[in-house]
Symmetry: C2
Subunit: 202 residues, 2 copies
């Protein structure tokens, strides 16, 4: 039996970027199946009474975070450019992600969007930004963009976000293994090992 | 030349407990000198407008934290009992710690107090609680307690805490290596490696 790991992420979250770029290799190494769970952080933060990212609201932690994330990217050999806009609006690519939740191209799409956001300092919320990404993946970009912006799919992303809130998810990335929660890129290895049955878990 | 690492900690901080129990062995392994910096978290949190720990203020993160810390203790082979009082008042042992900042018995004292707090679920803020700890270390307990509670020493802890705030420290444990900050027990290894010159640092 293959272990499974739920990966809850948001394309505007910088620590989700670190996990997005590392998770597939780790999952492959330990034969763990990834269930992809894009969700919106904004409404979660709003439910705490916050109008934006805690990294913006709490200046000291925010200052540290920019230092830490650059160092972590160096450690993991990942490209990094501090985004001139943070947090970047990600609603459109998040809608694409939830629509493509079970598609084989989802991970490649997310890696590309995150690379644009966190390595190339490019906006990702417009059709102009997302269309070429879909085309590079060999997809019918207009078809995907229409489906992603359908009423049903918008509702799907809202429901997924509400489910995150109900599960007690308060940040991203979050990993869930057999109902047990791991928060933050720093717990990715622990979560994968748990899913692979290599620890006594949680 | 030996590398140096500043260890900023608070005896009431559960993630400081994890680092306190691990830092000496790691520092020995990499021939790194530890500069001990006890400071009070309470005034730091107050400076952010918080009346208590963010783990208490933010229920979802708090719930997760209790799960995470138990799992981390298991991972590192450390005893753990969830404290029935959190955060526990630590002013008296913190005053002892700052007074003993350069004493060879400081680390043993801190380990013992943290074990009482986080493994034995015992209060640590009274003279009755701290006296036997000092006696077990072969010290003149009354002498130390008097010195720790002198006006000058209370002022010293206030100054140390103010210095932490000025440095941008927003939580504990925090490690500083050549002016570069590492926050959280999850960064202990990185900080020690940086101090030992084993990474390109920060």
């Amino acid at each position: 039996m293959t272990g499974r790991l739920e990966f809850w992420f948001e394309l505007g979250s910088n620590y989700s970027y670190l996990s997005m770029m590392r998770i597939e290799e780790l999952a492959r190494q330990y034969a763990v199946h990834i269930d992809w769970h894009p969700f919106l952080l904004g409404p979660i933060f709003k439910s705490f009474g916050w109008e934006t990212s805690p990294f913006v609201l709490q200046k000291e932690k925010g200052n540290y975070m920019w230092h830490d994330i650059a160092r972590q990217c160096r450690k993991h050999g990942l490209p990094w450019t501090r985004p001139t806009t943070f947090p970047r609006p990600t609603l459109l690519p998040m809608r694409v992600a939830i629509w493509a939740q079970s598609e084989p191209w989802l991970a490649a799409f997310c890696r590309r969007v995150m690379t644009m956001n966190f390595a190339e300092d490019r906006d990702v919320h417009t059709e102009e930004a997302i269309r070429p990404v879909l085309e590079e993946l060999g997809l019918n970009a207009s078809g995907v963009l229409d489906a992603a912006q359908s009423i049903q799919n918008k509702e799907r992303l809202r429901n997924q976000t509400e489910r995150a809130r109900t599960l007690g998810i308060f940040g991203a990335p979050t990993f869930i293994v057999n109902g047990s929660m791991y928060w933050g890129n720093d717990r990715l290895e622990d979560a994968v090992l748990d899913a692979a049955g290599k620890t006594n878990g949680s």
